[in-house]
């Protein structure tokens, strides 16, 4: 389950920010490790909603620091 989410997230990261899929591992920080800026995070949130049906509210987006944080959020909120 979380592997599927990680793979889906990796696809989004590659499309939006050019992150190599192998680099999209749970411990990676979006800003520190993957060079994803705040505007790209907004795009990623939109893409997550499309792919997983999970909306990330703005006040939650700020708490998502790592790929692992995003995986957990999606897992927790998926229907």
């Amino acid at each position: 389950m979380s592997e599927d989410i990680q793979a889906g997230l990796a696809e989004i990261l590659e499309e939006v920010a050019g992150v190599a899929p192998a680099d999209a591992t749970p411990e990676k920080s979006f800003t520190e490790d993957l060079d994803v800026d705040s505007l790209s995070m907004v795009e990623i949130a939109t893409a997550v909603e499309d792919k997983f049906g999970v909306a990330i509210p703005d006040d939650e987006l700020g708490n998502i620091k790592t790929v692992g944080d995003a995986i957990s959020f999606i897992q927790k909120n998926q229907g």
Binding site: L39, S40, E43
Partner: protein, 413 residues
């Protein structure tokens, strides 16, 4: 000519245009008489009175990384492509110039129109939450200058003159001033435009400013010709690296030409129509000559703004005749490139510099039957074939809706 610390030289050139993806291929196509103009095949264009464009010869996607490109409007993409070419050619990156002494001046006429209009479609069809977070940095008219500044690491100021079709030339003038006032040591200047889209096309057509010679694309842009009926919208960008002559010489930089002077005036006549006698344009040329310390007789070549509109070309011919005289060889290169709006002045400055460097004046295509206007008749407009010439100084004119007039004087290195 002596080298003083006010002397400014051009040490790098870059361009992506309807004639080629770089300066060399663009110049070769220009001298070969090739046209960059074609008829739109898009469905939307079928009902349009003017269906011609001068599209980029080289798709930006082949010249810029995908992820980088998706955060840049097309006008920014081509600006970055041209700027990086000029920057690389100048060798300034390896010269150890402090980023705080590198400035950028990059103009655009329209800005990120494709982004503005594309995201408006997203807004209408999918709602506000689907509008891209990159919408504003992609549509703002300083966006190209900012993207270029980031690309070359400029921290000495990034500026974006906006004066319609004079924007590219105004950027060059602004760069000259920055160097003369010692605000920077190296300035990357240029202009960009990419707005081939139904709305700008419909807007210009509504002004009756565009050629409707849809069945003869390559013959549509015909500056100074009796049969001219408007301009052809082009897209692309051109960039130049400027620095003071003494510091360029100290680092052994290749010098293409000297930027000897600039003049800027306003018509104060009408929002869009040029003064019929080209009064403001002539004043700009006169001011540029005085700034360069040259006489009209020194000018061997004029790259005219000449967009192929009925009123604009005759007004400019009058201005050239009164401010320069009848001896200079005149070229109207929009006959092959189309009108790149905010990039036009930068691209035509590149052509002016190459004419000086190579001692050859490009021809004006499609000038089969020169207008009966006495000034057009009096000028020596080069046509049919490029003409070899002995040139020491040349002028590039640029004018923009709003009554903006910029003249730039270049001299041989």
């Amino acid at each position: 000519m002596s080298t003083s610390d006010r002397d400014v030289v051009v040490t790098g050139l870059g361009a992506t245009t309807p004639l080629g993806g770089d300066v060399a291929s663009t110049w070769e196509a220009l001298l070969a008489g090739r046209s960059g103009i074609s008829r739109l095949t898009d469905d939307w264009a079928k009902e349009f009175p003017a269906q011609l464009v001068a599209a980029l010869a080289s798709d930006p996607a082949t010249q810029i990384d995908r992820v980088r490109a998706r955060r840049l409007d097309r006008s920014q993409q081509v600006a970055v492509i041209a700027a990086e070419q000029a920057w690389a050619e100048s060798g300034a990156a390896d010269a150890g110039v402090a980023p705080e002494r590198i400035a950028v001046v990059f103009g655009t006429g329209i800005g990120g129109a494709l982004t503005l209009l594309g995201q408006d479609d997203v807004l209408e069809q999918k709602g506000p939450k689907r509008v891209s977070p990159f919408t504003i940095p992609m549509l703002m008219p300083n966006g190209p200058a900012a993207a270029v500044g980031l690309a070359i690491g400029a921290r000495g100021g990034v500026h974006a003159p906006v004066s319609a079709c004079a924007s590219g030339a105004e950027a060059i003038r602004w760069g000259l001033d920055l160097l003369r006032f010692d605000r920077a040591d190296v300035v990357l200047v240029g202009g960009t435009e990419a707005c081939v889209h139904p709305l700008p096309m419909a807007g210009f057509a509504a002004m009756r400013a565009m050629s409707t010679r849809n069945d003869e694309p390559e013959r549509a842009s015909r500056p100074f010709d009796k049969g001219r009926d408007g301009f052809v919208l082009g897209e692309g960008s051109a960039a130049l690296v400027l620095e003071r002559a003494d510091s360029a010489a100290a680092r052994g930089a290749r010098v293409h030409a000297r930027l000897a002077g600039a003049g800027a005036t306003a018509d104060g006549y009408d929002l869009v129509a040029p003064h019929p006698e080209g009064e403001g344009a002539a004043r700009a040329i006169g001011a540029a000559l005085r700034d360069a310390g040259l006489s009209p007789s020194d000018i061997g070549h004029v790259n005219a703004h000449a967009t192929s509109t009925p009123v604009g070309d005759t007004a400019e011919a009058a201005a050239i005749r009164s401010a320069v005289g009848e001896h200079a060889l005149v070229s109207a290169t929009k006959s092959q490139t189309g009108h790149l709006l905010g990039a036009a002045g930068a691209l035509e400055s590149v052509f002016t510099i190459l004419a000086l460097r190579e001692q050859i004046v490009p021809a004006t295509a499609n000038l089969d039957d020169p207008d009966d206007d006495p000034a057009v008749q009096a000028l020596d407009i080069v046509r049919r074939e490029p003409r070899k010439a002995s040139l020491s100084a040349a002028v590039n004119d640029s004018f923009g809706f709003g009554g903006h007039n910029i003249a730039l004087v270049f001299t041989t290195a």
